[in-house]
Subunit: 338 residues, 2 copies
């Protein structure tokens, strides 16, 4: 490994001269500076981030903690984060919390131990102790995808209320009256918001809200397949003929619906209409192409990264809450039954 000492020896100066030269310190003779910088490049010198971080706390490193690294939804987000970081000389640690609070806590502690300058996190729950812990730890943090219920934080998220009401409105406009809602875990603020949007749309159109048409905890492909399989088989409190359309909280779970209905030889959209959420990139190639609510994922990622960097560089001022707008993407998974 090439160190500053090695360069000093090579250049015939003291190592602190090298240090200053590399940081372009004006007090060093311009020629010496050039000479040393060139040498550093030739020898592929890289500052030892560990040493620098230990000394100055500037590790040029941030942590990104997400609920599912593999999901295309999160991929698009951290891809965008990576771009911004790159342009600013930062690198990211990625960790997967798998929707598990204990694992999330582990991840947070690891990240702190790794000396990250900041954190971008899609927290498992908006109410977990982890959030307090994080805030107390004073690590600069930007929350994405959902928002903890307090105002002294940075966050970027899409309003789930608007999203579900867009979806529901659209289905109603296509003549659907009995709409199954596949929602997230009960009691989570984000699930509540999602439910409220759904209810609001029903109410506006003077349709009755049927509590029994709401199912919770349907995150993930497997879960969604199993759930719909039960319903379609008649082994669930919700019967197959109780609804003509489905609103779901992710495209991935919409795929689960596709899979289950395929198995039971139901046709989408002929038997059931489906509206997804996220607009992950391949949904337009599905059979049928999925009608869904678009979340600006790239924007979420780049905004979050920029906010975090601002906050690290002390450029920003106060905390910021950014709310992005979802958009309806009409494709072929909804049938008009008017």
């Amino acid at each position: 490994m090439v160190t500053i000492k090695r360069l000093a020896k090579e250049a015939g100066v003291s190592f602190s001269t090298v240090a200053k030269a590399l940081n372009n310190d004006e007090t060093i003779n311009i020629e010496t500076r050039r000479r040393i910088q060139l040498l550093a490049k030739q020898l592929n010198y890289r500052p030892n981030i560990l040493a620098r971080g230990l000394r100055s706390r500037r590790t040029k490193t941030i942590g990104v903690i997400l609920n599912d690294l593999q999901s295309p939804f999160y991929s698009e987000i951290y891809k965008a984060i990576g771009e911004i970081l790159d342009h600013n000389g930062y690198t990211m640690f990625l960790a997967d919390s798998k929707y598990d609070e204990k694992l999330e806590k582990e991840n947070i502690l690891s990240m702190i131990g790794l000396g990250v300058e900041g954190l971008i996190i899609s927290s498992v729950s908006e109410m977990s102790d982890n959030i307090d812990f994080l805030l107390k730890s004073l690590v600069k943090t930007v929350f994405i995808d959902n928002r903890p219920n307090r105002s002294d934080i940075n966050c970027v998220y899409v309003d789930h209320f608007v999203a579900s009401s867009l979806a529901t409105n659209y289905l109603i406009s296509m003549g659907h009256k009995d709409i199954l809602l596949l929602n997230g875990p009960k009691n989570l603020p984000s699930s509540c918001r999602y439910l409220e949007g759904y209810q609001k749309s029903l109410k506006e159109e003077r349709l009755p809200f049927k509590e029994e048409l709401v199912v919770y905890d349907s995150i993930g492909l497997e879960q969604s397949v199993n759930l719909m399989d039960q319903i379609f088989s008649g082994n669930h409190r919700i019967k197959p003929n109780a609804f003509s359309a489905i609103v779901t909280l992710s495209d991935v779970s919409a795929i689960g619906i596709y899979e289950a209905s395929h198995k039971h030889r139901y046709s989408i959209p002929d038997t059931y209409s489906v509206v997804g959420y996220d607009n992950i990139f391949f949904t337009k190639y599905l059979n049928p192409a999925l009608t869904t609510i678009h979340q600006p994922k790239e924007q979420t990622g780049s905004l979050a990264a920029n906010m975090l960097l601002d906050s690290i560089m002390e450029r920003g001022g106060d905390e910021v809450q950014v709310i992005l707008s979802p958009i309806l993407i009409e494709r072929d998974s909804v049938k008009s039954i008017k």
Copy 2:
């Protein structure tokens, strides 16, 4: 931040006693040990990885450098890597080389500066200088996805020769004689292997090899859409009626074919049959479901991670080259024209 000194003060012992207690050193009184370990847990103590790494070179950190973080193909791989690392108390840095050698070099240098104990890399090219550099740098490395042309390295990859010949054989067995090959960048060993497999299958079936039916450089969705768009429009040396089937080097580029043919109102598989490569998870939900060659991505990731850890722990012996086998997945994007 909770440090070893802080714990020492809290526990009323010297900091070196704490250090030993945390490392479960036998020379420390068992009770003192327990007491200190408990305290550490209560205060959420985490060792400062920077300090540890600086001192002992054991950062418990590895680097993963891939060509496209967003592609589901690589997602599955690094998901699997992450699992293995987790179980071993390691964390990973992820970097995206975007199929660019200069960026790759940057990434390698960053990783070294970050103090990683090892590297898993899907190198941009099997012949790049970066590989020599990496080997000389003595960082433990596992190459995945393709293999540099030398024997003193660890690698895990799928034999592209077998893959393309599987695909080609299958198409021939379905009656296709004029098969377009969408290949990777020319002169890359992996592209050569891919071409050879294709040629071998043609030869076996006594079909002529038509050089003009091979196209290079068709990595990526956009590129693939553009290329096929040109061909379908008649603005390319290859004419739309010159082939009845397509073998491509990735599912992502197969999607590009779908998109272009959709635009030109060609039907898959009625007008053109398509065989993809990778078997990324949603290909079975495409319209039509994509016939493709499966690569064992999860296995690639976990094998690579385990090999790297073995090599780091000095458990392993010599370098290992693992070659995995691809499998044909028959679905609906190929039509029999016999």
